[in-house]
């Protein structure tokens, strides 16, 4: 029993924080966000690859670092903390989905190139063949679209999908609409492993980024309210401010507990993953949105300006929260799993009940 990062994990955290503090300041985030092309810093991408973080949680057999989902979550949280414009997350979501939901052959085909950052990929949830706001789809080679309990890998070069860049409120990342051509629908490859496991792993990564956004928003707030004075005192001394900051801490730490556990469970106790992943995504989506919104409020008028940096966090949190299923959907899933677990524990009820209580949204 040791519910804390190991020294090695702390080292990854420290390295990521140091790198991003130097290379992904808000000034550089702003530079990307305000440029029409939103071009990511390729040197930073090379550096992440150089650290092995493109394949940090991809097994060594597939050319990755062979570390766990927890190490990946640690990196994702830091990239969220910095609101870094980077395609790292899109690649990581796709890789984890393939790792969980692909067959052995599919993993062998797709993961090695992703593990070293030589190939690009992303994930979207589609409805009637259209996936709105897929992150980095415009630069992805492989686009995994999830619809009706199936995940299909499309080769963007194969002509089976159309990609239209979309502007969103989050200019720190590129998004695109992906449409499957009616004729090209058969061109993709169905992932034929367990989809749930793959989605769960991807959700944990997204949840980790959300937690990082919340963490940064909390830090900015605490610093600001200690400095900003009104009525002759730092505003952080007013309970209307300090108690809301305490609430920010509560939600951020709660989300962190949930993602750490889910990431750990993904590798160590996979049977606990479905419930843990749903909780992680729901808790982090709440924390990401609430804590960044509170940060804007507690910054007062300044927080509502483009010049302040809190809005990058708020905006990305909105997008992250909406990707891969909303917090409401995850809550419903938690309830179904809880009911199934209770059923399973009751005598005479099939143990399949929990497995049957799958996602409603995929």
């Amino acid at each position: 029993m040791n519910f804390d990062l190991t020294d090695d994990q702390r080292e990854i955290q420290r390295t990521a924080r140091a790198l991003l503090t130097a290379r992904s300041s808000f000034a550089s985030v702003r530079a990307v966000a305000e440029s029409p092309a939103r071009t990511y810093d390729t040197a930073l991408w090379e550096e992440l690859i150089g650290l092995g973080w493109a394949g940090i949680a991809i097994p060594e057999t597939y050319g990755g670092q062979g570390l766990g989902l927890l190490e990946l979550a640690v990196v994702a949280e830091q990239l969220g903390w910095a609101a870094t414009p980077s395609r790292w997350l899109s690649n990581a979501l796709a890789a984890q989905l393939v790792l969980g939901a692909g067959s052995e052959r599919q993993r062998e085909q797709l993961l090695p190139e992703l593990a070293v950052g030589r190939e690009t990929a992303t994930v979207g949830i589609a409805r009637d063949g259209v996936a709105e706001l897929v992150p980095d789809a415009d630069s992805a080679r492989w686009i995994v679209l999830v619809e009706r309990g199936q995940a299909i890998v499309h080769d963007a070069r194969g002509g089976g999908v159309a990609i239209e860049p979309r502007e969103t409120i989050d200019p720190t990342r590129r998004y695109a609409r992906v449409t499957v051509h009616a004729s090209g629908a058969g061109a993709g490859r169905l992932l034929d492993g367990p989809l749930e496991a793959g989605l769960d792993r991807a959700e944990v990564v997204l949840a980790a980024e959300l937690t990082g956004l919340a963490q940064r928003a909390l830090e900015l707030t605490v610093a600001y309210v200690q400095e900003r004075r009104q009525f002759g005192t730092p505003i952080g001394a007013f309970q209307a401010v300090s108690h809301r900051a305490a609430q920010q801490l509560l939600e951020t730490e709660g989300a962190r507990s949930a993602i750490w556990f889910a990431a750990w469970a993904a590798d160590a106790e996979p049977e606990a993953l479905p419930r843990a992943a749903a909780m992680a995504k729901a808790a982090a989506a709440d924390a990401g949105r609430h804590v960044t919104a509170a940060a804007i409020q507690l910054h007062g008028g300044i927080g509502f300006t483009w010049e302040a940096d809190v809005h990058w966090l708020y905006k990305r949190a909105q997008l992250d929260a909406a990707l891969l299923g909303s917090a409401s959907e995850h809550r419903r899933r938690i309830a179904r799993l809880a009911a199934a677990a209770a059923d399973a524990a009751a005598p005479g009820v099939s143990a399949d009940a929990e497995a049957a209580a799958g996602r409603g949204h995929a």
Binding site: I169, Q230, F231, I296, G301, F304, W306, H311, K315, L319
Partner: protein
């Protein structure tokens, strides 16, 4: 109790509706300059029809509308999705302040230009270090022969780049205690020494400005009220700030909720009890806002000035508007976050609602202290 409009009020509303239908300015044009010109033209049309300064007395070019008629005016504008007139700050704040504290000469000189939109007004109260705490403002007015030289910085100044006059509160006596020593000026925005810098919000739009003042000249005749009495004059302005707009904001919120309800129905989501409960909750809050605003209006008719209860409706509105935009994003899904979705703009804009015109924290203070009579820390 009677919640129906009187025959006169109904006639007022019907006449206004007919007039708006015939004179509606159409959709807002692209671009800030074009948009402002459109609102100026709209105000001139309103003025031509006698609708620009509905609540002002006829002798100042107004229609002498009652409080209820003013409420109807704001409701109808919002219902027709017509904009506020360009000189809204002059009409709602500047004029009424002059009527209470201005001299006859000042009223004669300034009121007509407000109504005609020939002179646009802006408000120079907030400062970077004096947001919620107005009495902490630092902009300094130094007495010179025949007038004042003003130096400092203001922020959150809407329309500053269009304005010819600024309602400016500055510290005219550095020695006096915090609330004392303030004077209320009318500053000519064409004077040298004024720099206007647009202030972009998180929506990407620049509704507000920063104002940098360096030795800006203001003649003595442009002091409103007495020198050193600026705090009292400013309170008159602030009191009017929260009064008029609630009815328009409520209707705008209702319009938004109806659109959201239609979107939910179109997506078959109303059968989802979770969606239905949240939508129903918002409709309830929106209606309670309307009713509470009318209760406030009744109280104002009975007792004169608007009371601190106006803080309640501002608080209710901003909270409900934020909830509505958040529900929209959840209900419509990721595509609501694309910039070409109106909901994404509404979501971001709504974050300012609990900050602008008195933060929710300050409003709660006001309710606690002035309505409930609770003590304030340090004053017990």
């Amino acid at each position: 109790m009677d919640l129906t409009f009187s025959d006169a009020e109904r006639a007022f509303r019907d006449e206004l509706r007919g007039w708006i239908a015939a004179n509606h300015p159409g959709a807002e044009p692209e671009g800030e300059e074009a948009s402002f010109a459109w609102r100026v033209a709209w105000q001139r049309a309103l003025a031509g029809g006698g609708w620009a300064a509905v609540s002002w007395p006829p002798e100042y070019g107004g229609r002498g509308a009652t409080l209820v008629e003013s409420a109807i005016f704001n409701e109808e504008l919002a219902r027709a999705r017509a904009p506020q007139p360009a000189n809204v700050l002059g009409l709602l704040l500047g004029g009424p302040t002059l009527m209470v504290h201005g001299s006859d000469e000042q009223r004669e000189r300034f009121l007509p230009g407000i109504v005609s939109a020939d002179e646009i007004w802006c408000q120079g109260f907030s400062e970077p270090d004096a947001g919620s705490d107005l009495a902490a403002l630092k902009t300094r007015a130094v007495k010179v022969d025949g007038g004042w030289r003003v130096t400092g910085q203001k922020v959150w100044t809407s329309f500053a780049h269009h304005a010819t006059w600024c309602m400016l509160v500055a510290r005219s006596d550095a020695e006096a205690a915090k609330h004392k020593g303030l004077t209320y000026f009318l500053m000519d925005m064409r004077e040298p020494g004024i720099t206007v810098r647009p202030l972009r919000q998180i929506t990407g739009a620049a509704e507000f400005n920063e104002l940098f003042l360096e030795e800006v000249w203001i003649p003595d005749e442009n002091v409103i009220g007495a020198v050193g009495n600026g705090w009292a004059v400013a309170l008159t302005t602030l009191m009017n700030e929260r009064a008029g707009l609630a009815f328009g904001l409520q209707v705008a919120l209702k319009v938004l909720l109806d659109e959201l309800t239609a979107a939910a129905v179109a997506r078959g989501l109303l059968d989802d009890p979770s969606v239905a409960e949240r939508l129903g909750d918002l409709h309830m809050r929106c209606e309670i806002l309307r009713l509470t605003a009318y209760r406030g209006l009744t109280a104002q008719m009975k007792y004169g000035q608007p009371g601190p209860e106006g803080s309640l409706t501002k608080w209710m509105w901003s909270d409900t508007n934020q909830r509505a935009t958040e529900l929209a994003v959840e209900l419509i899904g990721p595509e609501a976050l694309a910039t070409d979705s109106r909901w994404s703009f509404e979501l971001l804009r709504a974050r300012g609602n609990t900050i602008e015109g008195g933060t929710t924290e300050i409003l709660r203070n006001i309710v606690a202290e002035r309505v409930l009579g609770l003590p304030r820390l340090g004053r017990t």
